[in-house]
Amino acid sequence: MSIKQTMSTNTPLWTRNHLLGLQSLSSQEINFILDTAASFKEVSTRSIKKVPALRGKVVVNAFWEDSTRTRTSFQLAAQRLSADVIDFSEKGSSVSKGETLIDTARNIEAMGVDVIVVRHRAAGAAEMLARTLKCSVVNAGDGAHEHPTQGLLDLYTIRERFGRIEGLKVAIVGDISNSRVARSNLWGLSKLGAEVYLIGPTTLCPRAFEKYGAKVVHDFDSVIGQVDVINMLRVQFERIQSSQFPSVREFSQMYGLTWDRFQRCKKDVFIMHPGPMNRGIEIQSEIADGPQSGILTQVTNGLAVRMAVLYLVTQAA
């Protein structure tokens, strides 16, 4: 399906040189990134999948936390824009010698870097770097705070599937409290006019989210037949020991997307997952690999969205 570009005569211009989260963006700015991403998607269909827009610029992937999709996606996105890409990870760096985040980042910047893509376990890490550094900062996930490019690629994928976002009912299911993906999705979806259902056990899905306009639901089955999109979050095994978390079996029975639940969904329900998936726990394999799954499309679109973001932050700088 082709994307309708939501352009008006007074198209707002992009002026930010950082992307720290979706909470601080306007709906116009979010739509502007999505429209730009639609153009970058075309680049990946060419025989020469490269444009010179960021030639001579340097992009650093600085990941203080593990990642496969996001890191690879940012790397490929930067390369398709002809930027030079440096990879930095905590393991094997001076971080293990005790260097602080700020010092490491300042040193990387001193080498003449244009964009730092940062992932860190602490919420607010990207914002702190943006205040300290002169180069552009793109947040690739900071603690449980935000993961804006994931939020954008989810928005893009939903818009591509349905041709709109406004008026859709979107369920986000799982460990909401600890999820930056859930937060970025919540901000983006509600700004663009979707109805957001946050679904999970009381310990992981507090009512506090209702003040941001979301509907908090603890009984997945009560809304399963109404929603247009189901975004299943990953069960974070690193947190499974905590008392907030029920047993895996119990969680899977109450909040997993099982075949039985899937049968009770809307006929054209769209299934999403930010990855990495725990097959058989939060989502059954047949559903994840089925025709209504957008999981791999999300990954494809992630590349276009990240190209758009890298391009926009460098052009505004």
């Binding site: 570009q5 352009m7 198209t11 211009l13 992009w14 002026t15 502007f32 429209d35 730009t36 639609a38 153009s39 970058f40 998607k41 075309e42 680049v43 060419r46 025989s47 020469i48 490269k50 444009v51 010179p52 827009a53 824009l81 758009a308 391009y311 926009l312 052009q315 505004a316």
Partner: protein, 177 residues
């Protein structure tokens, strides 16, 4: 206003331009007409229609968005929306007619040529512009020019207005805002 060519003058300029282009290509050979967004795209569409009417049978049509290929990206302020290029054509070995509205510094055309080479290797690329206003900063010349303006100061803008985009056909020369 510095100068204006009205609808009737526009038509004379456009028709002569089109005839010269039609005469230079064989109706029986394939040709790709590619417009540079956004006025070049409209002109390319018009050319394609009238060439089809003149018996051309193998015309491919495409659109180039050259934003990502510009060398002055950092100088032109906040970014307008990047739009996709639409080149679903077999470029290799086929002549290309690259179409734009106004030729000035030549930088757009250079960006267009760079973009085109990423899509394939045409047998020849010819450049058609409706207005050549001089002021080149690169060694680039058009093969087909509708109107040559020799005395437009740098402080002025040459606008090609097209019914499809602007509601009327005209060429205007105005001081830059």
């Amino acid at each position: 206003m510095f100068r204006e060519y009205d609808q009737a003058q526009f038509k004379t300029i456009y028709d002569q331009w089109r005839e010269r282009i039609c005469a230079d290509f064989s109706p029986h050979q394939p040709i790709n007409i590619i417009g540079i967004r956004s006025r070049g795209q409209t002109l390319a569409q018009r050319l394609m229609q009238s060439m089809t009417a003149h018996g051309f049978k193998h015309i491919g049509q495409g659109v180039l968005d050259i934003t990502l290929y510009r060398d002055d990206l950092s100088e032109i302020g906040p970014r307008p929306l990047v739009r996709p290029s639409e080149i679903n054509l077999q470029l290799d070995g086929v002549p290309v007619l690259l179409v734009d509205d106004v030729l000035f510094t030549g930088r757009s055309v250079r960006a267009g040529l760079d973009a085109l080479t990423d899509f394939g290797r045409p047998s020849v690329i010819k450049l058609a512009v409706l207005v050549d206003r001089g002021g080149r900063e690169l060694p680039i010349q058009a093969d087909y020019v509708g109107l040559t303006l020799r005395d437009v100061p740098n402080s002025h803008r040459v606008n090609v207005l097209l019914t499809e985009n602007d509601g009327r056909d005209a060429i205007t020369v105005d001081p830059r805002p």
